[in-house]
Amino acid sequence: MAESELSPKFAPFIGMAGIASAMIFGSIGAAYGTAKSGIGIAGVATFRPDLIMKCLIPVIMSGIIAVYSLVISVLIAQDLAPPSTGKHYSLFTGFMHLACGLSVGLTGLAAGYCIGIVGDKGVRAYMLQSRIFVGMVLILIFGEVLGLYGLIVALILNTKSKG
């Protein structure tokens, strides 16, 4: 890799930081969502074991947050190439990959936090009042859409590296 002003030596470092931040922050969010809603499910299932199947929805949604991060990480990783292949990795691409990773990672963190709290309180409320189920799923979807917005922004940003 020929070092130039547009593609300095440290540019891949920035891109790698993007991959790592996508996966790390997204997994933190997904783990919080899974754990917090799992606490609620464990509390509900002691009294109403027949509700477990429907109460598992927040856990599935937390898994989706992690899938978003995984998709973006794989996408960024396919753009990277070792210097021995002679490709240029510009500083612009590096910062863009950092933006991709941070946008999907931090929105995943926000969405996982939201899903965790809503999932915990929601399934406990669902045990007492079953009509809350539709509202709980709707709130969970709106929380999960936050992560989807981050994914969309990251996908759009990622198309700019081909230019």
């Binding site: 009294f47 929805i57 899938v67 794989v74 396919q78 079953s130």
Partner: protein, 125 residues
Amino acid sequence: MATRRIAAQEKSLLNKDDHTVARPSASGQKSNTSPAVPLAVIVKLLAFTFAMIVLPIGSYFVSVDNLFKGNSTYAGALAAVMANAVLIGYIIVAMAEDQSDETDSSPPSADGSAAAAIKEGKKDR
């Protein structure tokens, strides 16, 4: 009203717990640890777990070269769509199972107080 029903149910469960805890030590009765979940539910959960792991990332790698000719953005979007499809499928299956529970538990109504309480809770909905 719902709060009142649950408080009563909670108390009865606690009472039952006390009996079962007190009895085995006295009569040497074996505790029943066989899974209370039917096999169909376990298969369903395992299938969804497998789908959640394999389907999004698998659809990405299959479609990035075959379907979209190297355009990884569309393939990534397809992976996200597949993850959401798994979620929607899970919600549909969970709702269907809840309704099948309702139809199954309605004929043997003389099952016990717990079944009656559950049925009452479902009627509440």
